[in-house]
């Protein structure tokens, strides 16, 4: 079996250049590639475009890359939780493309699946539809959206093997499996890395064919944005 293992996050992101087009998995702070973000912070690069559903918070996740002014543009569906993001956006230092969440997911999926465009009802009649082709199917209007593909997709999984096969846990799955399919180079960080053959093929979510680099991450903080408890 082809071995996709690299030593650590630093090695995995070592060749990401300035102005690269990246995808990063995660929903809020759930299932984000913490180790790769930390390794990117050590790199002297900027001008990044990042496709990610959200933009982290001020002092965690993608927010850390924003603080270091490494990001030129975010392509996201919801970016509410970040004061530095707002400051950079209002001052014109940062561009943002806001995209309906389902459209964002499908554009990524389409990119990985070799489908250059598709029609969706989301956004018809709104400003999202401006400049886009509209077409009627069976009496209802749809608008055309194009695929998204990345130079590097950076994803986080729960378990992985040396062949790049991945298993996700809970709602930390979110955008990770589809982004894994849409990168020219896909980097996967996992909490537990095992030799190929140890994961049950029936249980694998992402086939290793999509993954070029894999390593076992460490010191996961898994910060919680809204700790909500049932009082007993």
């Amino acid at each position: 079996m082809i071995n996709k293992t690299v030593k650590d996050a630093r090695e995995a992101v070592a060749d990401i250049p300035s102005n690269a087009f990246l995808m990063m998995g995660g929903f809020g702070l759930c299932g984000i590639p913490e180790n790769c973000i930390a390794a990117l912070l050590e790199r002297d690069i900027n001008g990044l475009t990042i496709v990610s559903n959200n933009a982290g918070v001020d002092d965690f996740g993608i927010g850390l890359l924003l603080q270091k002014r490494m990001v030129k543009k975010m392509i996201s569906s919801y970016v509410g939780e970040n004061a530095e993001f707002e400051r950079q956006l209002l001052s014109g230092e940062l561009e943002v493309d806001l995209i309906p969440q389902g459209t964002l997911a499908e554009r990524v999926r389409a990119g990985g699946a070799g489908i250059p465009a598709f029609f969706t009802p989301a956004g018809v009649g709104t400003e999202v539809a401006e400049g886009k082709e509209l077409r009627e199917f069976d009496g209802k209007l749809y608008l055309m959206e194009k695929w998204l593909r990345a130079d590097f997709s950076i994803v986080k999984a729960w378990k992985g093997d040396t062949a790049g096969n991945l298993i996700f846990k809970g709602t930390a799955r979110n955008f990770n499996p589809i982004m894994a399919t849409a990168g020219k180079i896909t980097i996967a960080e996992v909490e537990e890395l095992v030799p190929a053959g140890e994961l049950d093929p029936n249980e694998i979510h992402t086939p290793g064919i999509y993954v070029q680099r894999i390593f076992q991450g460490k010191n996961y903080e898994k910060r919680i944005e809204q700790r909500t408890i049932t009082k007993s």
């Binding site: 459209t103 009649g125 809204q226």
Partner: protein, 219 residues
């Protein structure tokens, strides 16, 4: 006038056995507390879960298990997890029966505005545009008027819209209203102690008042 909890309580009466339901953030989330235990329904979270359970105890908190509002949650028995593309395939594909969400404005033809206020920081639409473009049944939970008394049930939305001709029913703090296919808010019920006159005066859009408008029952 209804409290937020009472709006949620009234909306819960619309839920039917066997439905898959997506609840938005805010008042819609509270609806889950009032769905009768006798009904078998499944709550969808668009970040990738069918089968949202109650909030966890302190010991059960799992950072890898959150809802679309980023709150820690649990799963009920029989739950299933999936990725974001699959989640919105369910939504756009019409497999989710009922969507309950909040709104800043609704127009008499069923347009909804709930994602952007010009001049204020734009946070994004999240999954709202996909949900309103696709759901076969959309119920909106909202305040009838803004804090300064302006009606939010309008002939035409003034804010950037999220979706067109999609809202079927509104439960506000004053009334239950249906949106007619030909346009207009049909007054179905009024909140306890609220007069038809008051609802008329606080609805800017076309209001259709039948001969009899019963008071809501909040069991």
């Amino acid at each position: 006038m209804l409290t937020k909890e009472q709006i949620a309580q009234r909306i819960a009466q619309e839920v039917q056995n066997g439905q898959y339901i997506n609840l938005g953030i805010g008042i819609p989330t509270l609806v889950a507390n009032y769905i009768p235990k006798s009904l078998d329904v499944v709550l969808q979270s668009e970040n990738g879960l069918l089968g949202i359970g109650p909030f966890p105890s302190e010991e059960m908190v799992d950072p890898d298990l959150i809802n679309a509002g980023k709150q820690t949650i649990t799963m009920v028995p029989g739950s299933v997890l999936f990725n974001s593309a699959e989640s919105f395939a369910m939504i756009r594909g019409g497999h989710v029966h009922l969507t309950i969400l909040g709104a800043m404005e609704v127009s008499e033809n069923g347009d909804i505005a709930n994602w952007k206020i010009p001049g204020k920081m734009v946070k994004g639409m999240g999954g709202a545009m996909d949900l309103v473009a696709s759901a076969e049944n959309i119920i909106v939970a909202m305040q009838h008027c803004s804090k300064d008394g302006q009606s939010k049930l309008l002939s035409k939305c003034t804010l950037p819209i999220t979706g067109i001709k999609c809202v079927k029913k509104i439960v506000s703090d004053l009334a239950v209203l249906e949106i007619l296919p030909e346009g207009g808010f049909l007054l179905k019920e009024r909140a306890p102690g609220v007069s038809v006159e008051e609802i008329k005066s606080k609805t800017e859009g076309k209001l259709i008042v039948p001969d009899s408008v019963p008071e809501m029952r909040l069991s």
